[in-house]
């Protein structure tokens, strides 16, 4: 059972990625009901995207309003029993991040996965995210180097469009696990746009091995008895 909490209040993309962007959120006795994205009800989702009157409505909120909603997302949503709650955040180290960590503290978060592209400019910002994790006592599960290389479908030449290696170097420098490189994959982009299940439908695609490896790493990490 996996829950996804989308705290990117200004740019909520997760609903579309599961093709549930037109769904509504209803209330039940135990709180707000998250939206289930599959028949088996194994993945549930909460996002401000479901609360907008029109999909193009801008959420022009200052920090305090954002903080209040994030608190509600954690406290008032009837998540039920979950094996994992994944929280997707916007870029930065501000209201959303501070409020999310505070709201989740009683539930002892496992930690954070930091995503960067290989370029130095991106790594430069992720260094600050590492500091954020340190200062908030959030364990770093590892760093993912995304958009790491593109293999031309015509001739198989690999081009490092956004450079290469920055994520791995940062992980080494910071002494945190490196979870792997995920290559650019047009099928992954298309699949997310169309709200399809990439893992089920495109097992032979370029990004599949890296993504499943990362998921497996997290599962392995949590199957061990906690000390």
């Amino acid at each position: 059972q996996v829950g996804i909490l989308d705290v990117d209040l200004c740019g909520p993309s997760i609903p579309r990625m599961f093709r549930v962007q037109d769904n509504d959120v209803h209330q039940c006795d135990s709180g707000w009901v998250p939206v289930f994205v599959d028949q088996d009800k194994s993945i549930s989702l909460m996002s401000i995207g479901f609360l907008l009157e029109k999909p193009d409505d801008a959420v022009v909120w200052r920090g305090p309003k954002k903080n209040a909603l994030i608190k509600q997302f954690v406290a008032d949503v009837a998540w039920g029993d979950l094996d994992f709650l994944i929280v997707d955040t916007p870029p930065g180290t501000s209201d959303e991040h501070i409020s999310t960590v505070e709201a989740l503290r009683p539930y002892k978060p496992l930690g954070a996965i930091l995503v960067t592209t290989p370029q130095a400019v991106s790594v430069g910002d992720v260094r600050r995210e590492l500091t954020f994790c340190k200062k908030t006592g959030l364990r770093v599960l590892g760093i993912v180097e995304n958009m790491s290389g593109f293999v031309c479908p015509h001739c198989s030449e690999c081009t490092n469009i956004f450079s290469k290696g920055g994520g791995e170097e940062l992980a080494k420098h910071a002494g945190v696990p490196f979870l792997g490189c995920v290559p650019l994959d047009p099928q992954l982009s298309r699949s997310l746009e169309e709200g399809r299940d990439f893992i089920q439908e495109f097992p032979k695609s370029a990004a599949f091995p890296a993504l499943t490896r990362i998921a497996q790493h997290i599962l392995d990490g949590t199957s061990q008895p906690s000390s």
Binding site: R16, P91, K135, T136, P186
Partner: protein, 342 residues
């Protein structure tokens, strides 16, 4: 330890008066009752069967002295362009840096680049100014100069280490943005370019409110061809309408990739819903241009060099240059219209 200030909200009755307001740069402004409600006030009320309306307060004016101080400081600024994006990672800061370089190519033009991405200030690195610090003079904070006619300001220059994180809630970020506008000695400049973080929040509201005293020519919005990016651009366009910010146009970045080996083109970020072109048609906004992916762009940014000088022959260079030309023409038009009115 984390700051756990419970900001009551600038529009609340407690604004400036709550215990947590002590030490906040906005305290005086809020306490004077002069904080205006946000133009975007309102929004999602919660799920069906619950939630309640949020109280709205009537509009109040900002203290005349403050607005006058900002207006005075920015008097020498001829054109102001905001660079926005809905989503992160679409190449907004890259574009801002190149726009600055492009406009400053004419030595008779004075250009300033202001980075208000307080949590993720990438501009210093992109401009080759990593490690520089801000100096104060009698006339205020001095921008850091890349060229004689190109000055830069960023929170990055105020941090002592590359690992320093700015873990601030909205009110503190707003305070610094106001300082950037009020305390930096910008001097007389032809173009002030403002790079923003992605989204429609504190930084965006504040910059529009503070610059309200002066004048913003318009906003350039950056996107990739993907629907998940366009989805957020539509919100950004919505934001611009709400705060009455003119839209100069949209730039579609990462628009196609030509393999250096076999020269075949791939759409790495497929425009599954028609890309920026279709969106701009639907929303009656200008498409300023499309820029293809080029590994040299990222490399130049990482090196802190201008992509134009590193790869003058790249198709991306001509795309960018055409876009910059169109922005210049838009600004010149504005000026002509204003002069006509006078």
């Amino acid at each position: 330890p984390l700051s756990v200030a419970e900001c009551p909200g600038t529009s609340s009755a407690q604004a400036g008066r709550a215990a947590a307001c002590q030490g906040c740069p906005n305290q005086k402004l809020c306490a004077s009752g002069a904080a205006a409600p946000d133009p975007g006030e309102g929004g999602p009320e919660g799920p069906r069967g619950g939630g309640g309306a949020r109280p709205r307060l009537t509009a109040r004016c900002r203290p005349p002295a403050e607005a006058a101080a900002l207006r005075e400081r920015l008097r020498g600024v001829r054109h102001t362009v905001l660079v926005l994006s809905g989503k992160g990672g679409v190449g907004k800061s890259t574009f801002s840096a190149l726009l600055a370089h492009g406009l400053a190519a004419r030595e008779d033009k004075q250009v300033a680049l202001l980075d208000i991405d307080i949590c993720g200030p990438s501009i210093p690195k992109m401009m080759g100014l990593e490690g520089e610090q801000v100096h104060q003079s009698g006339s205020g904070w001095s921008p850091v100069y890349v060229e004689e006619n190109l000055g830069v300001m960023s929170v990055g220059f105020l941090l002592s280490s590359l690992d320093d994180a700015v873990i601030w809630r909205g009110p503190k970020k707003n305070g610094l943005i106001k300082q950037f506008l009020r305390d930096v000695d910008w001097g007389v400049i032809d173009y002030l370019i403002i790079d923003t973080p992605p989204g429609t929040s504190d930084e965006h509201l504040s910059i529009v409110q503070y610059l309200g005293a002066a004048h913003i020519d318009g906003a350039v919005i950056i996107t990739t061809p993907q629907e998940v990016s366009l989805q957020d651009v539509r919100k950004e366009i919505n934001f611009c309408h709400k705060v009455k910010l003119p839209i100069i146009g949209v730039v579609e970045n990462m628009s196609g990739f030509v393999c250096p080996k076999c020269k075949n083109e791939s759409q790495i970020f497929p425009p599954t819903t028609g890309g920026a072109e279709k969106m701009c048609q639907n929303l009656n906004v200008s498409l300023l241009g499309k820029v293809p992916l080029d590994p040299q762009i990222g490399k130049s940014c990482d090196k802190g060099q201008s992509f134009f000088s590193e790869a003058p022959e790249s198709p991306a260079t001509s795309s960018y240059r055409n876009i910059i030309q169109r922005i210049q023409e838009y600004c010149d038009q504005q000026h002509l219209q204003e002069e006509k009115i006078i």
